[in-house]
């Protein structure tokens, strides 16, 4: 039973251009689902659509989102507010900008407690300190009275996580939670997220552009390109056998020990401007393997293996032109077969991560939630 179920979500600008174009996925409780893509591909807008917090001028056009069996798009705004911060919480890319600068850390956490747990006064204060303690902030009783500007970037992100946890959410949406942080801090924050997840059993939608983050944290991955999910697979499948040419190129662009001394391969061309492609595959212009059909016909979703699907004509025939929606893998492939040692790869695109800072998610079996 999935906790979050997204069906054919379309989000567009008022002028009609589609930012998020017909995407579907689902997340089970205790699972980490990564949405991978470069900036501007629509992954943050997907997250904001789920929260119904789209900026002015952007609207949810169609599709459905079910959270715990509740259809979010059918809720009245005031019922949706109960969901936000309560059952689904969100943390953002820039912890420095995402906290209110003129409010103490404690009050910002207490706001959530008052709203979703009816905790006020000393009880709320006590709980705030506990939460800060849980996210690893030293000297929490003192920090709770401080303003965000006194905290470092990593500390601020910890506060954001504490604030998100304050509502005891079932789903945490983390929008590039480590992008703005130093590399060592990134690892700590990701570790914290994993620990928290294993403790609370919440689901996590992890939005990132960093294959390294995916490798360490995600159970399943969806790769987004120009507003569409082009490939969806379990982490093991994706790293063992990326199917979509775009995913393959992403991997090829990684620096690695095996390729030391060679030039990094970049993906030529650039992302097509919003709404500029009316027909054909959106990646066709940058794809080495594209042929005439790619430019003419929009590829359908093709389920290739258990839990793995791709939006590409290359796999159209052999998959029997499968019209299955969203490739929501019904059965999960065995997690054991992890073909090569991912962990030894410095997986951030920048390639600066020290190997020792990479904890193995396999060491946290509860976090993986894969005991089937």
């Amino acid at each position: 039973m999935s906790l979050l179920k997204v069906d054919n979500l379309v989000t567009r600008l008022r002028n009609g251009a589609r930012i998020v174009d017909d995407i579907s996925f689902d997340i089970a409780a205790g699972e980490t689902f990564a949405l991978l893509g470069e900036s501007g591909c629509g992954k943050s807008m997907t997250a904001l659509s789920l929260m119904r917090l789209l900026p002015d001028g952007v609207v949810n056009a169609s599709g459905a989102v079910q959270m715990d069996g509740v259809a979010l798009f059918d809720l009245r705004e005031r019922d949706m507010r109960e969901m936000r911060g309560g059952r689904m919480a969100m943390i953002f890319q820039e912890p420095g900008l995402s906290l209110n600068p003129v409010m103490t850390v404690g009050r910002q956490i207490a706001e959530v407690l008052a709203l979703h747990h009816d905790l006020k006064g000393a009880a709320a204060q006590q709980r705030s300190i506990e939460l800060l303690d849980q996210v690893g902030i030293p000297d929490a009783p003192r920090r709770v009275r401080e303003y965000p500007f006194r905290l470092s970037g990593g500390m601020k992100q910890r506060v954001m996580i504490a604030m998100a946890l304050a509502g005891s959410p079932r789903l945490l949406i983390a929008d590039e939670p480590t992008t703005a942080l130093d590399v060592t801090i990134q690892a700590q924050v990701l570790q914290l997220l994993r620990d928290t997840q294993s403790r609370t059993g919440m689901a996590m939608l992890l939005i990132t552009h960093d294959l390294g983050v995916v490798a360490e944290n995600a159970h399943r991955v969806a790769v987004m390109y120009a507003g569409q999910i082009v490939e969806q697979a379990s982490r093991e499948q994706l790293f063992a056998r990326p199917l979509h040419p775009y995913t393959q190129k992403l991997f090829a662009a990684l620096p690695g020990a095996a390729r030391a001394g060679q030039l990094l391969s970049a993906i030529s061309g650039s992302v097509p401007p919003l709404g500029s492609i009316k027909q054909g595959c959106r990646f066709a212009a940058r794809c080495d393997q594209a042929w005439a059909r790619c430019h003419e016909q929009n590829p359908e979703w093709t389920a290739v293996a258990e839990g793995q699907g791709v939006r590409c004509h290359l796999y159209g025939e052999e998959g029997g032109g499968g019209k299955g929606k969203g490739g929501r893998g019904k059965g999960r492939s065995g997690a054991a077969g992890f073909p090569f040692s991912l962990i030894s790869f410095p997986f951030t695109l920048a390639g600066r991560r020290p190997a020792s800072a990479l904890p193995d998610p396999q060491r946290h079996p509860a976090a993986c939630g894969r005991q089937r």
Binding site: M51, L53, P55, D56, G57, R78, R81, E82, M83, R84, G85, G86, A89, M90, F92, E94, L97, S98, L99, N100, P101, V102, M103, E111, V112, L115, H116, Y147, F149, M160, M163, G167
Partner: protein, 338 residues
């Protein structure tokens, strides 16, 4: 704090800060004085001014001398080589006319009255109009701007902005003349002009206040709206919404407090200047405040009064700047006076 300044410095950064800021203000005020002095006495010689004041026809050298002597303009401008010692600097027009200002001794106007006393008595009426205008205006403008911000990007907001642009395109003179005509002549509600102290005064100040508030709606509300809209686009607002807070609560507990920082920059600085009153309103409504005093002085070409008002205005402006900095510490925890 008399004998123990050192420990005061250590224990109270606010007072140390204020003392330093006040000391910094001195060179600025000297600059202001030099500037007005240059404007009034170097661009035109005292002889020119005497000729102006006395009228072209009956100008004799003796009359000019007498005029200058009466007003103390018969000395050299900056350096008096005729006297020795400190008199070299002090027995000059610049020293005589400027030094007193720093202790608020403004000398006498052309009709022989003490400017300082005049200022003291006229501050009351000025304040009686300017302060309520300021306070009511603040509430009205901010509420209107909040309303537009809450309904941003809807027809209501659009209409509000359009109204603001229209209102700010209308000359301030029109508000005064039109308001005077409507309320006083057409509806016979309150007197057109005049002033009285105490409770009597209410009926005289109500119209100038209303007109003052209405006249500022366009530009001020739009300015506040711009600030609010800019603030509402920031990331922490999204965080607040993601917590599940309702839009009004987001506005009032999060946005408003942050928006105070830019708002204070523009608002606090004018508070001391309220003492000066408003030139236009006061002269139109016959309110015997500092604004009408200034206008009368301008029309009568009474340079001592104009210089005194310029100096007073600068002092109040600098006080406003200091007040602004102090007020930041109250709304922005990141600001520390040092």
């Amino acid at each position: 704090m008399s004998g123990n300044t050192v420990s005061t410095y250590n224990t109270c950064p606010m007072i140390a800060y204020l003392i330093r800021r006040i000391l910094y203000a001195v060179p600025t005020l000297v600059g202001v004085n030099l500037l007005t002095f240059a404007l009034f006495f170097v661009v035109n010689t005292p002889d020119d001014m005497a000729r102006m004041q006395l009228g072209i026809k009956r100008v004799t050298p003796e009359a000019i001398e007498k005029w200058k002597q009466q007003r103390g303009y018969d000395k050299p401008l900056f350096i008096n080589s005729a006297t020795g010692g400190a008199g070299k600097l002090t027995d000059t027009i610049f020293w005589q006319k400027s030094a007193g200002m720093f202790v608020f001794d403004f000398g006498y106007s052309d009709d022989g009255r003490s400017i300082a006393r005049e200022i003291a008595t006229r501050m009351g009426p000025s304040l009686a109009v300017a302060l309520p205008t300021f306070l009511i205006g603040l509430v009205v403008y901010v509420s209107f701007a909040l309303l537009m911000t809450l309904f941003r990007a809807t027809a209501l907001d659009m209409a509000g902005v359009a109204l603001c642009v229209l209102l700010m395109s209308i000359s301030g003179l029109f508000y005064i003349i039109g308001g005077q005509f409507l309320v006083s002549k057409l509806w016979h509600l309150v007197p057109i002009s005049g002033y009285a102290g105490g409770g009597e005064g209410f009926k005289f100040v109500v119209l100038p206040i209303v007109i003052g508030v209405v006249g500022g709606i366009g530009s001020s509300s739009r300015w506040y709206r711009t600030i609010f809209i800019e603030e509402i686009g920031k990331d922490y607002v999204r965080t607040a919404r993601a917590k599940g807070l309702s839009e009004p609560r987001v506005m009032f507990t999060h946005v408003l407090k942050n928006a105070m920082i830019p708002v204070l920059t523009g608002v606090v600085v004018v508070i001391p200047l309220l003492f000066m009153g408003s030139l236009l309103t006061e002269s139109f409504f016959g309110i015997p405040g500092l604004g009408s005093y200034t206008i009368d002085a301008i029309n009568a070409q009474d340079f001592s009064v104009v210089r005194a008002m310029v100096f007073l205005g600068s002092v109040l402006y600098i006080a406003g700047l200091i007040l602004t900095d102090v007020s930041y510490t109250m709304v922005d925890p990141r600001v520390r006076l040092s």
